[in-house]
Every structure is written in structure tokens, then in C-alpha cells.
Symmetry: C2
Subunit: 237 residues, 2 copies
């Protein structure tokens, strides 16, 4: 672990990463600079090329560097801010803050989805889906409303679940692991019905999280989650 006389704090590839980040910060390598190749850096840091390669690969994944074969490695010119949001299952989210979780099933039917939902999932005209509406509670108080459509062609078993005991979300996470999803966040004004459910005045600003989930190419479910005023989603970089 001989890394150019550095105090060896942590693994060598991390020492390399810290040194590179420090050079970028201190404008030794300003944005846009082409930095030395892996072989040169390996020589400088006194380690194998694979070690440098790992350090650079991870920095590239983080968006700090841009790598291209033959062209070399450059410091990213216009870095994008990335926020990693962790959206846990409602039950855990509530339990983490030490409150009691509960949920009410408000509505359940197998019916034809509205055109917008059908198109979003790319399903055939005339398809019927499982539609469920639900209110999640923390210590009895409204925490989140859920309006979910499930593609029964992809998950026919979903038709048989007792949604009053297991929430659809939990069932889906347990039975359909590793799906890919698109999440979008926006602000919406509470309709009269939503206001009544969430216990806030009509027109109040709600945080609206919508998520559509696929397993491979197969659309599974799309859900709209509404949160009462004051709710925040926090992410760190």
C-alpha cells in the first residue's frame, strides 16, 4: 500500500480518489482538463493500473470524470447535481419515526383504466386492471393517500390478495423484487376529496409522488402518492 508517500488512510483506490478530487477542487485540474492516463497515474501513485482504473471508474460513475477510449479521461465540464432519494415502504417510513402504522382500504375494483394510465403503461385498448385506493396512517393521522393501478396481465395473482391486511405496495415489493421504476415528483392542489382524506383544507399544496414500475419490458403498476402539506423528501449527494 505504497501510495506516493501519502498517509495510508483507507484503501489505495480511495486514497487515489481523494487526491484526484482534491486536485480538481484546488484547480490543479480545472473542469475540462484531460488528466494523465491510467499508466502514468499508476506510476505516480506507485500502484497497479487496475487500482487507478477502479478509482477513475467510480469517479466517472459519480459524474466527476468523463472517460472515453482512446480520448482519455477529462474532468466533467458541466457537472449535474444528483440527488439520491430513498423512498422506503410506507410502513417502514412511518415506523422509523416511532409512530404506529395503519392503513385503510378505501376502494377496490377490477375495471378499465383511464386513457392516461393505459397509455402510460403501454397497454392494449380495452384492458382491465386492478384499481385500489388506500389511506396510510401514522399514529392514526393521515400520512399518505395511494391510488394504484396493477396490470393483471403481468401479475394475475394480485387479483387474489386481501388488500385490507397487506398493502399492495408491500405485496408487490415482496413478490416482484428488482423491478425498474420511473419516479416523478410534483406539487398538486388538494381536491375536496383528497383534502377530506388527508385532513387539510381544499386547495392545500400536496407533494405528489408518481411511480411506474416495470419488470423488464412488462409494465407492472403505476401509483400516485399524495402527502399532506409539510411533508418533505430528503436526499443526500
Amino acid at each position: 500500500m505504497t501510495v506516493a508517500g501519502c498517509l495510508p488512510k483507507g484503501a489505495a483506490y480511495q486514497v487515489v480518489q481523494r487526491e484526484i478530487l482534491s486536485r480538481i477542487r484546488n484547480k490543479v485540474w480545472p473542469p475540462g482538463t484531460r488528466i494523465p492516463g491510467e499508466i502514468d497515474l499508476a506510476a505516480e501513485f506507485g500502484c497497479a493500473r487496475a487500482t487507478i482504473s477502479r478509482a477513475l471508474r467510480e469517479l466517472a460513475e459519480a459524474g466527476v470524470l468523463e472517460r472515453k477510449r482512446r480520448a482519455g479521461t477529462r474532468v466533467t465540464l458541466n457537472p449535474v447535481r444528483r440527488a439520491m432519494l430513498e423512498i422506503p415502504m410506507v410502513r417502514q417510513q412511518v415506523a422509523e419515526t416511532g409512530r404506529a402504522y395503519g392503513h385503510d382500504l378505501l376502494f377496490r375494483a377490477v375495471e378499465a383504466p383511464p386513457e392516461a394510465i393505459r397509455a402510460r403503461l403501454g397497454l392494449a385498448v380495452g384492458v382491465r386492471m386492478l384499481h385500489a385506493r388506500c389511506l396510510h396512517r401514522a399514529d392514526g393521522r393521515p400520512f399518505q393517500t395511494e391510488d394504484r393501478w396493477i396490470n393483471l396481465e403481468a401479475v394475475p395473482e394480485a387479483a387474489g390478495i386481501d388488500l385490507t391486511t397487506t398493502s399492495a405496495n408491500e405485496w408487490l415489493i415482496r413478490e416482484m423484487p428488482l423491478s425498474s421504476a420511473e419516479t416523478s415528483l410534483s406539487a398538486a392542489a388538494a381536491t375536496d376529496a383528497e383534502a377530506a382524506l388527508l385532513g387539510c383544507p381544499p386547495g392545500a399544496p400536496l407533494l405528489d409522488i408518481e411511480r411506474t414500475t416495470w419488470l423488464g419490458d412488462l409494465p407492472i403498476t403505476t401509483v400516485r402518492l399524495l402527502h399532506p402539506p409539510g411533508f418533505r423528501v430528503v436526499g443526500r449527494v
Copy 2:
């Protein structure tokens, strides 16, 4: 690239990842299962341990697996949904959709921050900060309001910028690369002043993105961005 008779689609470590994901999905290895060790998998897939190691390491970073020395590798029991939001600079965000970007500086002063801001950044009582308010436009129409506080103790140069030509955000990204940040999203009702700026009715639901940035331990800036109704932030997993 001999990977157990597989059609070699992509790199070996990716083939391994796909196979592992498929086993988890198909309940060959249900959540909680301890999967075979790296050496066994290397033998099964006919590749080196380093290749298996990389495949598993990345799946662990993605939250699919949990790894512990001596204890082995297990399929994560309660996977968390992660949404990766990319929040580009306003200028790019507007330009990407083919609209013309513009911004107006509404306010600029060096003054004492409100208590909440001061505490959020962990600064001393009585500190003075650069305070700027700004309206960003797309094709002339209001796109985003910005209310920013900059820690002049950390970035004294910021006092000298001409904020009418360069927006504070762009200057900070260019001059202070690689800072860490905490981002939070919520919904807020438009005040009368905000409504006037954004061209929406008072009380309209706005998406509120707040971000606080540090360079190491040093707080740099905190900003509140408000977006008119209809604005969405989209993230993929």
C-alpha cells in the same frame, strides 16, 4: 469469456449480474437467502473470483445484495426504492427543452440571515451573508424563483460577482466543484409575492426544492427554488 454456456451478451460481470438478478426474481434465491460464496460462483460461471466480486459488489451498491465478511452474501430482505434525480443547472434545463433562457436579478444585499438559515448552515450568531433573489425564465415565461444565501466566510470572492450576468448557481458550480449537498423536496403554497413572480394565482401549489451545499465541513450556500404548478422532477432507478 466463457460464462457457463451463456450467450455472451456483454461483459462477463454483467452476464453474472443478470443471472443473479434473474435467480432472485424467479425465487430461486428469495429475499434473505444466503447465496454461494465468490469462489463457488466463480467455479460455476467459469470465471475468475475478481469478476464475481465486481458483479456482487455493484449489486450490493445498488441495494440488491448485502455483503459481510465471513458471513457471506445475502439477498436484501427489505429493499428500499431509490430514485436518482438529476437536477441540472437551470440554464441547461431550459436549453434542453429548446427554449430561450433568461434571468432577472431581483435583489442583492449583504445582510444578517434569518435564524433558520443561520442554524441550518451552523454559522456563528451575527454573521453576515450574501443574499440574492432571482427569477429564471424560459422563453420569457417564469420558470423558477431562486432565493439564495451564500457564506462569505467560505467564499469571499462571491461578493464581487456581477449577478446580473452570471447567475450565482453557475458561478458556484464552476468555482466550487465537487461540493456535497443535501436536497429536499416539498410542496408549498404560493405567497402573493411568489404568485406575482411566477404568474400563478396566490395559494397555487409550488414544487419547492431546497439545497444546502458544503465543501468538506464548510457550509457554502443554501438555496430555495420554487417552481410553478405543473413542474415535475423525474428520476429513474
